[in-house]
């Protein structure tokens, strides 16, 4: 083993909260060698981010840290004042999760880079250096980009800018905290490659913190698996994936959606009754100042029948959400026709469309955003039920029934969302949608906000529900692997158009559009042969 660049020994962090002291890290030891890419993987609450925050002295209010952390001999824990300031950014470059929140919204990209140059290596030609820094992370037209404000950047661009900022002062260790949150699969690969490449040129090292095991296996030399503030396993990527020692690592590996898993039942349901048809649907959002923006959706044709489970797959910004909103009648198409239960949805006013809501329901991406925190589970689930079931006793029985259906004990009725785990909360969201027995259910990335092991359980529940074939499901996702096991048909959407649609297995075995092939290639899988 070469001399470690970063050496952490027996690091403990405890955070006082109103509910008592939380032991975020309970004795963590790890090292990173120069030229190495280390991945730290685990589920939320595992304490991964606390490592990054300790290295930059950004622990939460009144948190206590003990143990040792050194970077080429510098005692990180003892740093303070000017030495700490020089160390932050100069020695350790921290790349924040969700760059849109971490970039200063009121300063231009160029100014933010220049701020960092001035702080660590002032000199002439700062603007030129800013342009060069942006070009180095693969951004096109950096001369124009330096005048941009963060809100004018796309998610992928913002992440690249974030990386450029972290690297701006040549730190010896780049720490990336969940760098791919919110990015779609194709971008995830590109961003991780860019981050990992920083370790390839000499004595720099990279530490990537992520919950996405599959993505990490692609770029990391070594992995550290964390659970509940402890390292449960560490080893070279290949060895750890092929011969995992700890049960938790095995669970993480098992939870990686497998592109080769197929839907067990055959798609024989094409004789179901037609629930909804979309003909040549177009949606344009109004422009702010003159000009005509490109349509968010155009020329969309789709038939949805009872028993169908249809996946709408595309990258972020492709028009998936617009399509689901059009299906739900939440927006009115600017062209074409949507028919539902014999009504022309696209020609109806908002109030008339509302009457059809009882036949269609939606499950949202982030359950905690979608559930009213002040309401109990019982109130949440019975809310739509009031539309169809005036009798309180029968309503109550229906709540119990639907809770059991989604795998929740009826005793959860009195809980409020903050007393639920992410998986439980999404089950409540599902129960709310199913409570009035809708004919059509739209699921918007129902599992993507959940931890990987929980994700697998929820998708399994959805699969069992869809196999009853008593209603139509439309599932929006950016991830082909998860939908393969769930859906009969796949609709691939790109730049507002359907570029391919067909039976799931046909799409997988014989994709005709380049976009579909790109999505298939980007699908997360464990890479054991890469290194």
């Amino acid at each position: 083993m070469s001399a470690a660049l970063l050496d952490i020994r027996d690091l403990k962090v405890s955070i006082p909260t109103p509910q008592g002291i939380v032991e975020a890290l309970r004795g963590v030891s790890l090292h990173v060698a120069p030229g190495e890419v280390l991945g730290v993987v685990g589920e939320s609450g595992g304490g991964k981010s606390m490592i990054a925050r300790t290295l930059t002295h950004l622990l939460p209010y009144r948190a206590q840290a003990s143990g040792s952390a050194t970077l080429s001999g510098t005692d990180i824990m003892a740093l303070q004042g000017e030495a700490l300031r020089q160390f932050r950014g100069g020695e350790v470059g921290l790349c924040f999760q969700s760059p849109r929140a971490a970039l200063n919204p009121v300063r231009t990209v160029g100014d933010q880079l220049v701020d960092r140059f001035r702080a660590h290596a002032p000199g002439d030609g700062l603007k030129r250096r800013a342009i060069a820094a942006l070009a180095a992370v693969g951004l096109r037209a950096p001369e124009t980009l330096i005048e941009y404000f963060p809100h004018q950047l796309s998610g992928g661009m913002a992440q690249r800018v974030m990386i450029a900022l972290s690297l701006s002062c040549n730190p010896r260790l780049l720490v990336a905290d969940e760098p791919t949150t919110g990015l779609d699969v194709t971008l995830t690969g590109e961003i991780l490659d860019l981050i990992a490449a920083q370790a390839r040129d000499g004595d720099r090292a990279v530490m990537i913190i992520s919950h996405d095991l599959a993505a990490l296996t692609k770029v990391c030399d070594r992995l550290v698996v964390m659970e509940k503030g402890l390292i449960v396993e560490t080893g070279a990527t290949r060895q750890l994936i092929t011969a995992p020692q700890s049960p938790y690592t095995r669970r993480l590996i098992a939870a990686v959606p497998d592109v080769t898993t197929r839907r067990t039942t055959s798609p024989e349901s094409r004789d179901g009754e037609t629930v909804m048809t979309l003909r040549d649907v177009e949606v344009r959002y109004p422009a702010r100042f003159g000009g005509k923006p490109p349509p968010a959706l155009t020329g969309v044709n789709l038939d949805i029948r009872t028993g169908d489970t249809i996946a709408v797959v595309g990258e972020s910004g492709s028009g998936k959400s617009t399509l689901s909103r059009a299906i739900m009648g939440l927006l009115r198409p600017t062209g074409g026709e949507i028919r539902f239960r014999g009504h022309t949805l696209s020609a109806m006013r908002f109030n008339q469309r509302r009457g059809l809501r009882r036949y269609m329901q939606m499950v949202f991406q982030d359950p905690f955003d979608a559930l009213n925190p002040r309401m109990t589970v019982e109130d949440i689930v019975s809310d739509p039920l009031r539309l169809t079931e005036p009798d309180a006793a029968r309503r109550s029985a229906a709540i119990d029934r639907v809770l059991v259906e989604v795998g929740l004990d009826p005793s959860y009725r009195t809980r409020r969302p903050h007393e639920l785990s992410g998986g439980q909360a999404q089950r409540v969201g599902l129960a709310r949608a199913l409570s009035i027995d809708p004919e059509l259910v739209v699921l918007d990335e129902p599992a993507s906000a959940l931890d990987v092991t929980v994700q697998a359980q929820l998708l399994d529940l959805i699969r069992r529900l869809t196999e009853r074939r008593d209603r139509a499901y439309v599932m929006v996702s950016h991830d082909l692997a998860t939908v393969r096991a769930l859906c009969d048909r796949i609709v691939v959407i790109d730049a507002g158009r359907i570029v391919e649609q067909g039976a799931t297995e046909d799409i997988f075995t014989n994709p005709s559009s380049p976009k579909t092939r790109a999505l298939l290639d980007a699908a997360p899988r464990l890479h054991v042969d890469a290194r």
């Binding site: 200063n104 100014d111 900022l165 701006s168």
Partner: protein, 336 residues
């Protein structure tokens, strides 16, 4: 160019606002019991005298007719004549509006400076002594009745310490200067009288401080809360994690983002002051708009009240317009 179009659009909005406000105020004040005519005629007046007075003032006409006449006058810039003093409203307005504007503008500027400085200072020392003192101070400032505070300040600085002038208007009689703009600080400078300017400032000091203390309280709390939020935001933490020096963090990151949230609140506070400075004007014998409107209300001087309501509404629209523009300058995400 876009900014010019935006301003033009917002100013055009004034027309429907003012028509609506004028209708509402015109009809509503006539619903208040009380007859201004009875207050201006002599006690010995006969019914015929009263009817004659009513006819002279045009109050014998049906109310819609009265309104149309009033509106016609407004379009020609004629606000009418006070029923009780017989003075043209425009003359009173030209004299009193600048007095009040001067008072509340200075108070607002002082309050803004104080609340930004104290709010950010407190937030940077969260839960430590300076923060606690600021919070207590803000609560106290918020709960003090302004007239009481004014009287106490007079007692302390005039009566006991003798460093403030008597609360008798806005300038000592020896220092009078010709009226040009109606703003005493400007007029004294225009007259080239430095001693008068200083005297005017000393008269302004106590009422301005009193008002500023009262209106600072909610703004300090708002600035402090925004600053805490900014300091706990990822964008601030990220800048700190990349080793930016303290001064850059405070000026480029904390201040800019904190200030972006202030204009809307400041506009609301300022708008409130236009109608709400009456108690302070009373305590400091300030012959401003508030006192004028209060007296007009007491004697049912319809044109006075109508004009006051119009002026207040106009001020609200203008102040919010300014606030929106300032906000857009501070925050590039806001498009106007």
């Amino acid at each position: 160019m876009l900014v010019a179009a935006f301003i033009a659009k917002r100013l055009a909005l004034l027309i429907p606002v003012l028509i609506g406000v004028s209708i509402a105020s015109f009809f509503l004040i006539r619903l208040i019991p009380g007859d201004p005519v009875l207050l201006i005629v002599p006690e010995t007046a006969t019914d015929a005298d009263i009817a004659a007075a009513r006819e002279r003032l045009g109050l014998d006409q049906p109310i819609p007719v009265q309104y149309l006449r009033y509106l016609g006058g407004l379009l020609q810039g004629d606000f009418g004549t006070s029923i009780t003093t017989n003075r043209p409203i425009a003359t009173d307005l030209a004299q009193r509006l600048p007095m009040t504007l001067e008072l509340i503008t200075f108070a607002m500027l002082l309050a803004l400076a104080v609340s930004v400085a104290l709010g950010v200072y407190a937030a940077r020392r969260l839960n430590r002594l300076p923060d606690m003192l600021t919070r207590i101070g803000a609560i106290v400032g918020n709960s003090l009745p302004e007239f009481w505070l004014g009287i106490m300040l007079i007692l302390l600085f005039y009566q006991i310490l003798g460093i403030a002038p008597a609360p008798t208007g806005r300038i000592g009689s020896d220092f009078a200067v010709p009226t040009v703009t109606g703003l005493i600080t400007v007029d004294t400078l225009l007259a080239g009288r430095w001693d008068s300017f200083v005297n005017a400032l000393s008269h302004l000091a106590l009422p301005v401080v009193t008002l500023a203390i009262v209106i600072s309280a909610p703004m300090i709390r708002s600035v402090r809360a925004s600053a805490i939020e900014v300091m706990q935001s990822d964008s601030y933490r990220c800048a700190a994690a990349h080793g930016l020096p303290e001064r850059k963090l405070v000026n480029g990151y904390l201040m800019r983002q904190t200030l972006g949230r202030l204009p809307a609140l400041a506009a609301l506070v300022f708008g409130n002051l236009i109608g709400g400075s009456v108690l302070i004007e009373f305590v400091f014998s300030w012959q401003g708009l508030g006192q004028w409107a209060l007296r007009g209300l007491q004697v049912r001087d319809y044109p006075v009240i109508q004009t006051f309501v119009l002026v207040t509404a106009t001020a609200y629209v203008l102040v919010f317009l300014i606030a929106d523009i300032v906000q857009a300058i501070l925050d590039p995400r806001v498009r106007i």
